[in-house]
């Protein structure tokens, strides 16, 4: 589904349904009072929603109510200038449509994922581990401002995500990372990776004011272990004036969604978002095919590894076979190179198989999140299209109803009941239209912001994964090199004359001790680049400091917390190794 071609301005003057000018407000010769009511009703409805949700939380209501109403009044005031919203700075629009940002700037929410528990059956261990985290906040909605150990199962996370995805249209709700990795469950790397990814998820979630200001978030956090299920699920739109129009705020699902997706997307005058959807979609497909190729590589690599280790075994067999023969004079079994080579092959293939797993665990798993997330983003953008579509139909309806109301008005002998009805109809449609328009504005504005966030996240995430991938590769290639050089020594040892290293220097006395390994403490023999130990120390110290800071910030010395920090070490070491090479 590509974005539609923008209309020409001269062509469709005043007919472009998505111009930021809200057309319903123009033919407002209907009545100023109408106008007033609409205004009020919108405000109240939006408050109502909140009120319904947060019956006993007046404080948040206050904070929310005020900006929204003022916001709308403001729009009314700036009716003329609204036409070119593109030029409106993002900040203004954000302030205009998204009061939650103000809310966010007032409050903080810190969360730290501190543990992961895998219990129960195998599939439960894998699919549904428990995430343990702690938080610290001053958001008034929270009863407990601070907790050191919150446990949530992945299932609960999923429920929460489902809710957010269905009811918070404005955001690209971050998809959940996989609860398991290719490292295999119940090992340290897996533990760290899952922890890291959920931390990342939390980071993304709390960055979005629309989510943390959503009371469902509070429910999610504050519910007891393994009891959470979405609470606003059914009543979120209860107070809508026209129940028939509820659908505009409910995510289409199933066949209806599929059918809707087949239609040409409505014209989008927000170029950035219009272009973003196809981009994300291509990204989604590309990442998927990259994953496919990675799997294919893994498969082929796996076969190769198997063959290599078979070859290694065959070489060892050959060694014992030839060893059992009558060896030529001056030769003993020690002079046969086959077994050493065979062992080398087997070790290398072992390392290769680890590396192959690592490649999947780093890049492939990372891409999985990108794939899922880009799909989520794409669907959110689709939802925006649906809202736009709804708005179009509402605008049409309101036009028709307006016409009818005007007709009735102009007729002298019209039934006053009919007129009333028509006006009431018109009012409700206009109200809904206004609500939808506002919703669309909120969505557009927030998505623009989210888009930036998302791209930032994407960039970071890709980089993070490629970095891990490269580091693992370097680590294991180095291990391989080490094994090979060891084997070379041994194989040379089978030849009294020193084998090929002699290079024709027949009289040179060679001792195998002369052969250096090419990887040394501070330098590789094949390159002039040195690894600066000094820098390495610095890095080590700084990373220690970091860790101390982290542990200091956690006042409570949880056992899990400390273990996490200490367990973090191998990974840090790899990072250090990588960095140390080039600093």
């Amino acid at each position: 589904m590509t974005s539609s071609v923008p209309y020409f301005n001269e062509d469709e003057m005043g007919h472009n349904p998505f111009e930021d000018t809200v057309p319903i407000w123009e033919p407002s010769n209907v009545a100023t009072e109408n106008h007033e009511t609409t205004n009020n009703s919108t405000t109240t409805s939006s408050i109502d929603v909140k009120e319904n949700n947060n019956n006993n939380r007046d404080d948040i209501n206050e904070s929310l109510e005020e900006p929204i109403s003022s916001n709308i009044i403001k729009t009314e005031d700036n009716k003329e200038t609204e036409g070119n919203s593109d030029q409106e700075s993002e900040d203004i629009r954000r302030n205009k449509y998204l009061p939650e940002f103000k809310f966010q700037s007032k409050h903080y929410f810190h969360v730290k994922v501190i543990g992961l528990e895998r219990v129960g059956s195998n599939s439960n261990k894998r699919e549904n581990p428990t995430i343990i985290f702690k938080y610290d906040t001053d958001i008034p909605l929270f009863r407990r401002k601070k907790s050191n150990k919150i446990k949530k199962t992945i299932q609960e996370f999923k429920e929460f995500y489902k809710y957010l995805n269905s009811f918070v249209f404005e955001c690209f709700v971050p998809t959940l990372p996989l609860p398991y990795t290719h490292f295999g469950i119940s090992n340290q790397e897996d533990y760290e990776t899952v922890l890291y990814q959920y931390q990342k998820w939390f980071d993304r979630v709390i960055k979005d004011p629309l989510i943390i200001s959503n009371e469902e978030f509070v429910y999610f956090i504050e519910s007891d272990f393994n009891t959470y299920c979405p609470i606003n699920h059914h009543n979120s739109n209860r107070n809508d004036l026209n129940p028939n129009q509820n659908s505009s705020f409910i995510r289409y699902n199933g066949i209806k969604r599929k059918t809707m997706k087949q239609f040409q997307p409505p014209y989008d005058n927000n170029l950035i978002l219009a272009e973003f959807r196809p981009l994300v979609k291509t990204l989604y497909h590309l990442c998927q095919s990259i994953q496919d190729y990675m799997l294919l590589i893994d498969k082929n690599f796996g076969i190769l590894i198997q063959q290599e280790s078979t070859l290694g075994k065959e070489f060892i067999d050959l060694d014992s076979l030839i060893g059992s023969f009558n060896l030529p004079e001056n030769m003993t079994k020690n002079f046969l190179p086959y077994e050493k080579y065979g062992k080398n092959l087997i070790t290398v293939s072992d390392i290769n198989s680890v590396l192959s797993t690592m490649n999947l665990a780093t890049l492939y798993d990372g891409l999985t999140w990108v794939v899922n997330d880009s799909y989520g983003v794409k669907e959110s953008l689709t939802d925006r299209h649906f809202v736009m579509r709804d708005l179009i139909s509402l605008q049409k309806q309101s036009k028709i109803k307006q016409e009818r109301a005007r007709k009735y008005r102009n007729k002298r002998d019209v039934n006053p009941i009919k007129l009333d009805e028509a006006i009431r109809d018109l009012q409700s449609v206009v109200k809904l239209e206004q609500r939808t328009t506002l919703k669309l504005h909120r969505i557009t504005t927030n998505m623009e912001i989210s888009r930036k966030e998302w791209l930032k996240w994407y960039e970071e995430w890709i980089k993070h994964n490629i970095k891990n991938y490269v580091l693992k590769n370097i680590e294991y290639e180095r291990k391989k090199l080490n094994v090979m050089e060891g084997a070379r020594l041994k194989i040379r040892g089978t030849n009294v004359k020193g084998g090929l290293s002699r290079l024709g220097r027949d009289h040179l006395v060679l001792s195998n001790q002369n052969i250096q390994l090419s990887q040394q403490k501070d330098i590789d023999t094949w390159t002039t680049t040195t690894r600066h130990i000094k820098n390495m120390k610095e890095i080590l110290e700084s990373s220690k400091l970091e860790q101390e800071n982290i542990s200091n910030s956690d006042n409570d010395n949880d056992s899990t917390n400390t273990t996490y920090n200490t367990l973090c070490d191998p990974k840090a070491a790899v990072r250090l190794l990588g960095r140390a090479n080039f600093s």
Partner: protein, 730 residues
């Protein structure tokens, strides 16, 4: 030509040994008729008969030897040779005999007699050989090949001394055969070469150059003859004289227009001798060299021969270094037989001495050969050096012969085959090898060479380990002719009416534990190596597949980069994709390298195992022949003993006895020859196996090292690649 030759032989006989209806006799003998023997045989026989009568075989024998020796030292007369033969025979045969031949003690005398008779019978055989083939279809092609009969006939007839040569000819053969291999000394070898020279002269009708010399210059011939006998007796190393005669003869012969044809015609008999190699070498050089250089060459050649037969270390010192390249495969399109021709470029690198010149006169050569010719070379070398492990040619392949990588692969394999041959101190001087490297008329001459040696090189079995034992080489030219005429050694025991038997020929059963063990090892090793080869092959293709996948992966990452989601990620991803494609090329290079080192090595190893197996089969086959001949001999001896036990003094009985004795002698000689070969081949194989295993282990180790070294290097490259990427991008 052939006619002339034999006629000459008969002439000689007539001159020396009176009238005699030689033709009839010999033929009659051959067909086992009861005609009277010619006088020579009679003479000899009676000579022997005396000894038989006395029954004190050994004493008598030694006495007769002494007598004959005195006679023999006199002149190079025809009578000398049996004596000389006996002489050398005495030294070796008795020692050999006790080991190999287990005869009942009662037959001791007859055994000794057998030896005596054998002498005569060899002569006899020789005669037979010469005479019988006249009607033989095998030789008819020589007649057909358009040789000038007329020019030769008078020459042959005009040469009385030639008969002497004729008789002298078996001499070198026999001495050589019977010489204990341990006994070979420098001097002896020298004399051998000398003898070969002589031999060539004596067979001059078959060979262009020396033949003409003798034909045109009887005086030289005589001189030569004298020299040869002198050298034999004195064990001196006089080479110059005969070569001069050679030179003369060549110059003389230059006037003869038929030189080439004659060469072809003549060469067969020449190579029939058991000392084929050295003779071939002579032959080769003469062919290759300009006529004027022949003298030098032959001189050098004999020098080489001397040095070569010396200690192996000496031979190593004198090892020639060839630089052989097989390149420029060109497809030759013929209607039904298009094939690929490769150009074989040879340069003689060192030592740049006179001796090397003789091998390749110009120091380098360039010829065009096809795959079939390499097979020919393999078979030919196999035939020339029984028991030696010949570097094998690539396997045959029916389909896909014109694919580029196949051609390249084959080219590589053939090049390494030639280089391996060139590195072997013995094989590198093989006449056929040199011929292969340098001959311009390979197609014609190779067939002739094949025919002469009986190697059946063109009846090439697909299986490299299948072998053919040349009867000609095994039994010597003369005996072989008879054997071949009767349909080969294995059918010999069923020949004739009387001793027609249904018993199957004795199967050869390996006795030597060493060989049983080794053969078993060989098979195990081969299957293991085949597995390894298969694995390597699989890995190779898998690597390439992986490389392809990585390439695809790199492409798709590149696409992702092109999407330009963000600037930084674009850069990162495109660099990442680049690294991946570099890794892919590393992988490909690795696989190519392994293909060139390990895979090629293992492949060659497997093929050379076939070559090893071939040597085992050669030994087996010879052993099998030995069994047959021994069986025959035993039967004959039993018959003979029966006959001697009830001696009837009438002529008929006597003749029958004589005939039996004759047959026994023939078989005995045959047995001895085969037994000798069997022993030789056994020792050769043992020696070869030892060095073979050693070289193979070393070679394997080297290629493992190379492959490992390559892997290490690409490993380093890989690390460097990742680290650079890391440094610049992360």
């Amino acid at each position: 030509m052939e006619n002339n030759f034999y006629r000459k032989g008969t002439n000689n006989f007539e001159e020396d040994n009176l009238e005699a209806s030689v033709w009839d006799d010999v033929r009659g003998d051959n067909s086992s008729s009861n005609d009277s023997h010619d006088v020579t045989t009679n003479n000899n026989n009676s000579f022997i008969e005396d000894e038989i009568g006395e029954d004190n075989a050994i004493n008598e024998l030694s006495q007769t030897f002494a007598n004959i020796n005195i006679l023999g030292t006199g002149i190079g007369s025809p009578k000398v040779e049996p004596v000389l033969y006996e002489n050398t025979y005495q030294a070796s045969s008795f020692t050999d005999q006790s080991n190999i031949f287990q005869l009942p003690s009662k037959q001791e005398s007859s055994h000794a007699d057998g030896e005596e008779t054998e002498d005569i019978s060899t002569n006899h055989e020789l005669l037979l050989d010469k005479l019988a083939p006249q009607e033989d279809t095998d030789f008819s092609k020589f007649h057909n090949s358009g040789i000038d009969h007329i020019t030769d006939v008078p020459k042959g007839n005009a040469d009385p001394l030639f008969s002497g040569e004729m008789f002298a000819s078996p001499l070198p053969i026999n001495t050589n055969i019977l010489n204990d291999s341990n006994e070979t000394t420098k001097k002896k070898d020298a004399s051998n070469t000398q003898l070969n020279r002589l031999f060539s002269v004596k067979k001059l009708r078959r060979r262009p150059v020396p033949a003409s010399s003798v034909e045109t210059d009887p005086l030289h011939k005589a001189q030569l003859d004298n020299h040869s006998s002198k050298q034999k007796n004195e064990k001196s190393n006089l080479i110059t004289q005969p070569t001069i005669s050679d030179k003369n003869s060549i110059i003389d012969f230059d006037y003869d227009n038929d030189i080439d044809i004659l060469r072809k015609m003549n060469s067969p008999l020449y190579t029939l001798s058991s000392e084929k190699n050295s003779i071939n070498k002579n032959d080769e050089e003469i062919k290759v060299a300009e006529p004027m250089e022949v003298q030098e060459n032959s001189n050098n050649n004999s020098n080489i021969e001397i040095i070569k037969s010396d200690e192996p270390s000496n031979a190593n010192n004198n090892l020639l270094t060839f630089k052989i390249e097989v390149k420029d495969p060109i497809k030759v399109d013929e209607l039904a037989a298009s094939h690929i021709e490769y150009s074989v470029n040879t340069t003689l690198v060192s030592p740049q001495t006179m001796s090397s010149d003789s091998i390749l006169p110009s120091g380098e050569s360039q010829v065009r050969r096809r795959y079939r010719d390499f097979r020919w070379l393999y078979r030919q070398l196999q035939n020339n050096h029984w028991g030696k492990i010949i570097p094998p040619p690539p396997e045959k392949q029916a389909v896909g012969r014109f694919k580029d990588d196949f051609i390249e692969n084959r080219r590589f394999q053939m090049e390494s085959m030639l280089n391996r041959i060139a590195r072997d101190p013995v094989l590198q001087r093989d006449a056929d090898f040199i011929f292969f490297l340098s001959s311009e008329s390979f197609n014609k001459d190779s067939k002739i060479r094949e025919y002469i040696s009986g190697s059946a090189a063109y009846n090439d079995n697909n299986d490299l380990s299948e072998i053919h034992i040349s009867e000609i080489k095994l039994l010597g030219p003369d005996d072989a002719a008879i054997v071949l005429k009767n349909g080969g050694l294995d059918t010999e025991n069923t020949r004739g009416f009387m001793n027609f038997s249904f018993s199957s020929p004795p199967k050869y059963i390996e006795q030597d534990q060493f060989f049983i063990q080794e053969y078993d090892n060989l098979n195990q090793l081969e299957s293991q190596l085949k597995q390894i080869y298969q694995s390597l092959d699989l890995i190779d293709s898998q690597r390439n597949e992986l490389a392809l996948t990585i390439e695809e992966f790199a492409k798709i990452v590149k696409n992702l980069a092109k999407l330009e989601v963000t600037r930084q990620s674009t850069e990162l991803l495109s660099n990442f994709s680049e690294v991946q494609s570099k890794i892919k090329s590393i992988l490909e290079r690795n696989s190519l390298q392994d293909a060139l080192t390990l895979i090629a090595m293992v492949d060659e190893y497997i093929r050379s195992l076939a070559s090893v197996r071939a040597t085992f089969k050669q030994r087996r086959k010879i052993g099998y022949y030995l069994g047959i001949v021994e069986n025959d001999l035993k039967k004959k001896l039993v018959q003979f003993n029966k006959q001697t036990n009830n001696i009837q003094q009438d002529i008929k009985g006597n003749e029958k006895l004589l005939k039996l004795k004759n047959e026994c002698d023939i078989l005995q000689a045959r047995r001895d020859k085969i037994a000798k070969w069997f022993g030789d081949v056994t020792t050769t194989i043992r020696n070869e196996l030892n060095s073979y295993n050693k070289t193979r282990i070393n070679e394997f180790r080297s290629s493992i090292e190379i492959s490992l070294e390559g892997a290490i290097e690409s490993q380093k490259e890989c690390i460097e690649l990742w680290e650079t990427f890391f440094q610049t991008n992360l």
